[in-house]
Amino acid sequence: MGGAKPDKEGVPDPDVWVDRYGDQLYRYALIRLRDPSLAEEVVQDTFLSALKAIDQFQGRGDFGAWLMGICKRRVIDVLRARSRTTHIEADEDSTDPAERLFDRTGKWRVDPGQWLTTPDREVERAEFWRMLDKCLQKLPPRHAALFTLRELDGLSTEELCNEFGITRSNLWVILHRARLALADCLRNYLYG
């Protein structure tokens, strides 16, 4: 990157943005959108928005974190737009995992706890994420998106309800179904 100019007021030369931040932004978007071409679009939008809004950065804080903030906003916009256009009925009709996991009296049919959640070593954490990721892929997309934004990104229930235009009780049902389904899926992976 011989031709790149030094950082000016904490802003790296845009010529190095792609090499320095591209993969990080791409992975962030890919994990949440599960669609490589959409994730690429989000990265492009992030860079273009950052160029336009560069005056707002004014050297405050970490430029990478600022870019990530823009990217996060874009990802939520895409997820929200997608949840408006997908058939919500399909989502709601998806089988309630509770039907599978509890008997008619409401007792557990299977032990919900037989899955590892305290992976300590780096390699275990990586393996755990791969498993969780496979399980997330089996959820209805809207459920997976809401679960990820809530648990991984720490968005509040209020924020999620506002962004996705759903009621609190609707959100609770979705998050609970996601948690039950994930518990069941992780157990199956480990104990078949």
Binding site: L30, F47, W108
Partner: protein, 83 residues
Amino acid sequence: MMSCREVSELVSRSLDEKLPLIVRLKVRVHLLMCRMCATFARRVRQLREQLSSGRIAPESVLDASLPAATRERLKQLLKNRPA
């Protein structure tokens, strides 16, 4: 007496909002007596801790990177930015 199915819903909801005191007490009593529900509660809380603390950071696990063609296209786009 609440069923395990109901308790699992309340355990899940407790991750998103504070339950009324009486409900919390009922859930706690159930969890003391029911190993399955207690394990479910522990697991979903652990999952939250692991994900929110960044201990399981998927970005560092995933080995995906921007495709070369997109990388070049974005570089050109940024190079040809309006002055």
